[in-house]
Symmetry: C2
Subunit: 218 residues, 2 copies
DNA sequence: TGTACATCAGTGAACGCGCGTTCACTGATGTAC
DNA sequence: TGTACATCAGTGAACGCGCGTTCACTGATGTAC
């Protein structure tokens, strides 16, 4: 294949993927609003028109970036959980996993603010009137949420088998997600964005503690 | 004054306020990105250039809108707290006030998504490289956060005077704020935005319950 | 093995859009004498 | 009370920008015979 031989050819060979990479790079640098079709094409060294062979338009390119960003977020959570040391007490282990997942979540947001925002971007910003009834395509499952839910379910299962605590599912999942999502955005682009790194960590840890505490029954 | 007589005059008389009102209206309709200097001038019936007599440019107009939106958010919280019935038990009363404030917070976000987003908008989106050292003006206090903090402090004071619980301040403030902020954004422009109103209320209430539970010591 | 031809994947120029902002200006207002 | 004049608060035309998207096109590829 010519593309592999390294020479510039009229046919790119893998333009779709190249455009996606460029677009993910743009999102990394400046968030979803930085994902600009013309710029992605420019970076790949191709005319803007060429992108229309592979995407419906800017919207589809951005949706593709969003899928990638969501995947990277979930990967960050799983990596953080994998790093967490185990514990003999299964309840303690389950709680540690939950807070490690949360740490991975907030950590990704803080380290990759642009991608994090891209993971949650909307085609149409909130508070914009939707003109038509507009059939919405089915929303794909967000793995980040699934991971939190599974961690909470694990705690639930332990509780039912005799351990002295339980979570209130599925509401606890939303509550935990809210906490890490809100914390991420306050740190990223909210009033906490100027917090020095050390105080930021303290705030993260104490919020995670509240999440874990909050899963225990009153 | 000519403006009061109702006739169209060359001199508007109160153009600055008129532009702010128009801009707040735009934010209400479509969030911060809808706040467009030319459109605000158009709505007031004045040339775009005229706005420069009263604002440095679009940036200053948007910052003014943000101040208004933050004030409206805090007002919504206080109104919700005022509606909340009291309780004989002072601890119960303080907890009710806390969760009422939170309810007012999320309620404002859900009812006024555009303004809510405007209240937290940044001049430069997160994940955008800041070129210069750039002296930042001092961030004004966000009253929404102050209100939450005071409610938590009230709980704290009760605990010290003998009631059987306490909060961990000031971290609890950030945790509570994170929860309501995250919940708001998940409902507004996140994966929960299609939740029917009834399920939405259930999710809000259970998250608020977690916030209150989380303030209790383990 | 060679060749005609359909199809695919690019190009380059152009369109219209709306924005923020600047320029030189003019009409209205108020103040000093 | 009248008038000259400085100052204030608007106007209208224009600039440059970069975007998404469309158009008619052309070079490269692969396939049928």
């Amino acid at each position: 294949m010519a593309a592999i031989s390294g020479g510039k050819t009229y046919h790119h060979g893998d333009l779709r993927n190249a455009l996606i990479c460029a677009a993910v790079g743009l999102a990394t640098e400046g968030g979803p609003e930085r994902v600009v079709l013309r710029e992605a094409a420019r970076r790949v060294g191709v005319s803007p028109t060429a992108a229309y062979r592979h995407f419906d338009g800017r919207g589809e390119l951005l949706r593709t970036v969003r899928v990638h960003a969501q995947r990277m977020l979930a990967d960050s959570m799983e990596r953080a959980a994998a790093r967490e040391p185990g514990a003999d007490d299964p309840v303690l282990a389950a709680e540690r996993r939950l807070s490690a997942l949360c740490r991975g979540y907030v950590g990704f947001a803080v380290e990759q603010p642009g991608l994090y925002r891209a993971a949650f971007c909307l085609p149409r910003p909130a508070g914009t009137a939707v003109p038509a009834p507009e059939r919405q395509p089915h929303e794909p499952e967000v793995r980040a949420f699934t991971l939190l839910g599974e961690a909470l379910d694990a705690l639930d299962a332990l509780a039912r088998s005799g351990a002295p605590r339980r979570t209130v599912r599925p509401a606890a999942g939303v509550a935990a997600w809210s906490a890490v999502h809100g914390l991420s955005l306050l740190l990223l682009e909210g009033p906490l964005r100027r917090l020095p790194a050390q105080r930021r960590n303290a705030v993260v840890e104490s919020t995670l503690a509240m999440v874990v505490t909050g899963t225990r029954a009153p």
